[in-house]
């Protein structure tokens, strides 16, 4: 088992009132699964993804990740955990404008204390795998949306995460571009055994996954 959520509640206090963002979420994810989270806007999909990615906390419940109790972990240990095992892909790519494609890919490695030579090799490998060698010295603004997201996915994958969390990765792309990204996910999932959890609004994209989770008002339905 990769991760397990048990009776997760998350709320915010606003004007003396508790507003629930997540209500009693239970979720088991096995290694190698490809899960799609769906639901109307505002239903809590991104919130759930952030909780899984340990970017955000929760108020009640238990969260086991690789048999570690995330809710008991210290901040520092938790961040080491997700640094090591989790990669993120965003709807708006979130590439750094000042850095070239190559530098963007290299960035997560810098934070994981790889040596320069190793970093170079890993970046070259990724560029190769995603067939963007020719674009390595361009800045994000010089790429199309699809190419930018390709770089985004490459960046998420570069340090070999076990789990990829993608929040509407194709939200800003046209259907052909989004198809390419989905194919890529599928390949990663099937060939490399990477676990993927994606948020999507599209039934078509959701179909690439092995399981669909539906959210409504912060509750699993």
């Amino acid at each position: 088992m990769l991760l397990q959520l048990k009776n997760i509640f998350k709320w915010v206090n606003s004007g003396g009132q508790r507003i629930f963002l997540l209500k009693d979420i239970n979720l088991d994810v096995e290694e190698g699964e490809f899960i799609s989270i769906m639901g109307p806007s505002g239903s809590g999909k991104s919130t759930l993804l952030n909780v899984i990615g340990m970017l955000d906390g929760f108020n009640e419940g238990e969260y086991q990740f690789l048999d570690e109790s995330v809710h008991h972990l210290k901040e520092k240990y938790r961040s080491n955990l997700y640094k090591e095992y989790i990669g993120f892909v965003f709807q708006s790519y979130h590439l750094l404008d000042d850095l070239t494609v190559r530098e963007n890919l290299e960035m997560p490695l810098l934070y994981k204390k790889f040596k320069a030579a190793e970093r170079k090799a890993m970046v070259a490998d990724m560029l190769d795998r995603f067939q963007i060698v020719g674009k390595k010295d361009l800045f994000p603004a010089q790429l199309s949306g699809g190419q930018q997201q390709l770089v985004g996915v490459a960046r998420a994958l570069i340090s070999n995460p076990k789990l990829i969390l993608a929040d509407e990765p194709t939200g800003n792309l046209n259907s052909q571009q989004s198809e390419e990204i989905m194919q890529l996910f599928k390949k990663l999932n099937e060939q490399d055994g990477v676990t993927i959890i994606q948020v999507t609004h599209s039934e078509k994209n959701a179909a690439y996954g092995s399981r669909i989770i539906n959210l409504l008002d912060g509750r699993k339905v």
Partner: protein, 810 residues
């Protein structure tokens, strides 16, 4: 239109309270600093200009070299004044002062004395010379008779309360009886007479009536007739040497001529200095009041300018940084048809508004700070609210400042191209960044320079404080006006000596602290050759002087009661021996005389040589000094063998009150007396400190604002980096290091400049520190620390934000 601009400007300021606050705070501190400095400089430049005909008044200075020593004095000889009026048609009037320093005063019929620190004899022409009038009394007759005096209004109030002082009798120093014949208004705070409160009639001073051309004891002021040129007077003035001084000197040196006098390497040079130049351009050892220097004015002027510049730079920096946020506004306005010049007007209105709000705060700040500043600078400066010129200059400067600091951001922002800015901030990320960096470097260059200067000034002061002066000034209590006890001074001395806490006591008017002392010429072993003359200060001391002051003998012996001949023996310092061209050993036994020309010349034998000691400020070299035994009761110095001053002081005061009833017991510690000597430097140090702090505050405000904008601009980047695994410390480091690079460059620029400038300043001191690398290390460390503290707050704040939040703001 303008009203509309103003309305929008006001709203836009209100919309960004943080930015507006930083801007106004920085500007008003800078403006207040600039205003303070300007007022101070104006005050310094205005010294002595308030006297009627000030431009026609000059003082005679004397530059003399005789018998190995040189001195430059603000005092001339007694007959000089009147002779000038008779001999030179251009000279309308002359007035002499003969200052006596601090004086005890009491009303006739009372016993209790009080002390006035500044007292002087003065000629009757005083009133006419300086255009003064009496409040009470008759100007024409006041000060004509011997034993009459004039009081300032404050002094009269102090001693006579609400009763009129006119016609009353006062006793000075327990001996002289004087009648008050006039009350004059207090003298202006920015005049050389500011501290003087008692003016005694010169008619009563015998010495003043004598035609002694060789003693220079009279401050001599002359007033020229209108349109006369002071340059025309220099030669006739110099000619007085041959006409009067040399003939007079022939009583000591029979048959001497001016040529012989000069051929022997001597010099006597008379010259004038304009009254209004004295305060800033004259620094002789015997000035009537402590003067300031032009150099200090330049230094302060520069510092004031720096402050205003810093504030203005801040303004530009914050505004351009802020413009990143306003790019969209500009874009929208432009697509809606606003022209560039309209936008320019709008932005300039905004900066004008900020500048004027800052001006109001600056005035308030100045009002609050002025009393403190006055204490610091020793002045009575006021803001001249009622003078139109003040307002014209103030408002003019403000407008210039507003336009100068507002125009760069205005041009910068109004240039934005709508299609670009509307697409998002991505393309503008470096907008104005380079210039902003240059400005930050500029600001820190100034700050680091000021830090270096402050450290050097303080080190030099500390060096002076701790320098081995050749005598021990620690734990020495000085009882002033010991002469007030009359002959009982000796009894008091002996009783104090009996006290357990007292190591030694000496009774003398000659202490090794700077004061006005005259030189006497001595001839050696009966030779009347001028080459053999030596000019020395003669200090009258008693048998206990050396041990009390901790002076060290290098040859010979101390005075000793057992040798009766010691009453004619002298102890000289090494400087004197050097002028004699002998070693200390060789000098022992040499005989000196100062009255060779007279009937029964007296000789004194050198019995000891002491190590040189610093009796003048460390600005000056040590001159020749001789000590001889006599009865001088100017003050009593008590060396304590405990740091427990309080009990010793009480016991000593008790003895004083018992033996000198009714006389004020006034004392000081030699340490303090020494410190007052360096007040000018200390003040400069403190003033530096204040303005340095202000400049650092301003620079930090700017840096703080920039860091805030920078962090805000990079919110998304920070979020992404964190999600990709960057830790809080890595992010903080990244945000901080960019600023530190700028500070580092500033340090590199300012250190050599600071090194050069402060070495120039140190040239003024004969004894000075050398500027070591520690000074720079300290300045650099301080600047970096301050910058880190300023920036890291913003950096940490940005770094700990949950990335979920920052990425959501997209």
């Amino acid at each position: 239109m303008f009203k509309n601009h103003l309305k929008i400007a006001w709203r836009s300021l209100k919309k960004q309270p943080f930015f507006t606050f930083l801007n106004i705070l920085g500007l008003s501190i800078g403006m207040a600093g600039g205003l303070l400095v300007s007022l101070y400089i104006y005050e310094e430049l205005s010294f002595d200009t308030m006297f009627a005909d000030a431009d026609r008044i000059h003082r005679i200075n004397v530059d003399v070299k005789f018998g190995g020593t040189e001195s430059e004095m603000a005092e001339a000889s007694a007959p000089m004044a009147e002779t000038m009026v008779t001999d030179f048609p251009q000279v309308e009037l002359a007035t002499r002062f003969n200052t006596v320093g601090s004086t005890l005063i009491r009303k006739e019929g009372t016993q209790k004395n009080t002390r006035e620190t500044h007292t002087t004899f003065v000629d009757q022409s005083f009133f006419k010379m300086f255009g003064l009038d009496v409040l009470e009394g008759n100007m024409a007759s006041a000060l004509t008779e011997p034993n009459t005096l004039v009081l300032t209004e404050t002094a009269a109030k102090k001693h006579f309360g609400n009763n009129s002082a006119l016609g009353k009798t006062v006793i000075l120093n327990n001996t002289g009886t004087f009648t008050v014949t006039g009350i004059i208004p207090d003298l202006p705070k920015n005049s050389f007479l500011r501290d003087y409160s008692i003016f005694m009639s010169m008619a009563g001073l015998e010495d003043a009536q004598e035609a002694d051309w060789t003693s220079n004891n009279y401050y001599t002021f002359i007033k020229l007739i209108p349109k006369a040129n002071i340059l025309d007077l220099q030669q006739p003035l110099q000619d007085m040497v041959g006409k009067y001084v040399i003939p007079f000197a022939q009583r000591y040196f029979p048959g001497i001529t001016l040529e012989q006098f000069e051929a022997a390497g001597n010099r006597l040079h008379y010259y004038t200095i304009a009254l209004t130049d004295i305060h800033l351009n004259s620094d002789l050892s015997d000035e009537m009041s402590a003067n300031s220097s032009l150099q200090n004015i330049y230094i302060l002027g520069l510092v004031g300018l720096f402050l205003v510049l810093l504030a203005s730079v801040n303004f530009m920096n914050l505004s351009t940084a802020h413009s990143l946020k306003r790019g969209k506004e500009v874009g929208i306005r432009k697509t809606l048809g606003s022209t560039r010049s309209k936008l320019l007007q709008q932005f300039l209105t905004e900066s004008g508004l900020i500048t004027f709000i800052s001006l109001v705060f600056a005035l308030v700040l100045t009002l609050v700070a002025l009393p403190l500043f006055n204490i610091l600078a020793g002045r009575a400066i006021e803001i001249p609210f009622s003078k139109p010129l003040f307002w014209i200059v103030l408002l003019g400067t403000t407008v210039v400042l507003g336009i100068a600091s507002g125009s760069y951001p205005a041009f910068f922002m109004s240039r934005f191209i709508p299609s670009k800015v509307l697409k998002g901030m991505g393309n503008m990320k470096t907008g104005g960044g380079n210039i902003r960096n240059v400005l930050v470097i500029f600001q820190f260059t100034i700050s680091v320079f000021l830090i270096v200067s402050t450290i050097v000034v303080y080190h030099q002061l500390e060096f002076i404080q701790n320098k081995d002066l050749g005598y021990s000034k620690g734990q020495v209590l000085i009882i002033e006006n010991a002469f007030a006890a009359g002959d009982d001074a000796h009894v008091i001395k002996e009783e104090i000596r009996q006290l357990g806490q007292v190591a030694n006591v000496t009774l003398t008017g000659f202490l090794p602290t700077p004061s006005i002392r005259s030189n006497t010429s001595f001839f050696i072993d009966g030779s009347t050759e001028q080459e053999d003359a030596i000019n020395m200060q003669v200090w009258t001391v008693d048998m206990d002087y050396l041990p009390t002051m901790g002076l060290q003998l290098v040859a010979g012996r101390d005075f000793n009661k057992a040798f009766t001949a010691d009453s004619t023996g002298v102890i000289v310092n090494e400087a004197a021996v050097k002028i004699l061209g002998k070693t200390p050993k060789e000098a022992l036994g040499m005989r000196l005389s100062n009255d060779l020309g007279q009937e029964n010349p007296s000789f004194s034998k050198i019995i000891g040589v002491i190590k040189d000691f610093h009796y003048e400020t460390l600005r000056k070299d040590i001159g020749a000094v001789s000590l001889s035994i006599g009865d001088s009761r100017g003050s009593m110095a008590v060396k304590l063998n405990t740091a427990e001053y309080a009990t010793s002081l009480a016991s000593i005061e008790q003895i004083w009150n018992k033996l000198a009833p009714g006389q004020p017991f006034s004392y000081r510690f030699m340490d303090d007396a020494f410190n007052t000597t360096y007040q000018a430097e200390q003040k400069l140090g403190q003033i530096f400190m204040v303005f340095t702090s202000l400049s650092i505050i301003i620079a930090c405000l700017g840096l703080f604002g920039l860091a805030a904008f920078n962090a805000e601009k990079r919110t998304k980047e920070i979020g992404v980096r964190k999600v990709l695994g960057a830790s809080v410390s890595q992010i903080t480091y990244k945000l901080t290091i960019d600023f530190l690079k700028l500070v580092a460059i500033a340090i590199l620029i300012s250190l050599p400049i600071g090194w050069y400038a402060m070495n120039q300043w140190l040239q003024d001191f004969s004894y000075r520190i050398s500027i070591g690398w520690e000074v720079f290390a300290m300045a650099a460390l301080l600047a970096v620390t301050i910058a880190i503290i300023t920036v890291s707050y913003q950096s940490i704040k940005a770094a700990i934000v949950n990335p979920v939040r920052s990425l959501r703001t997209e």
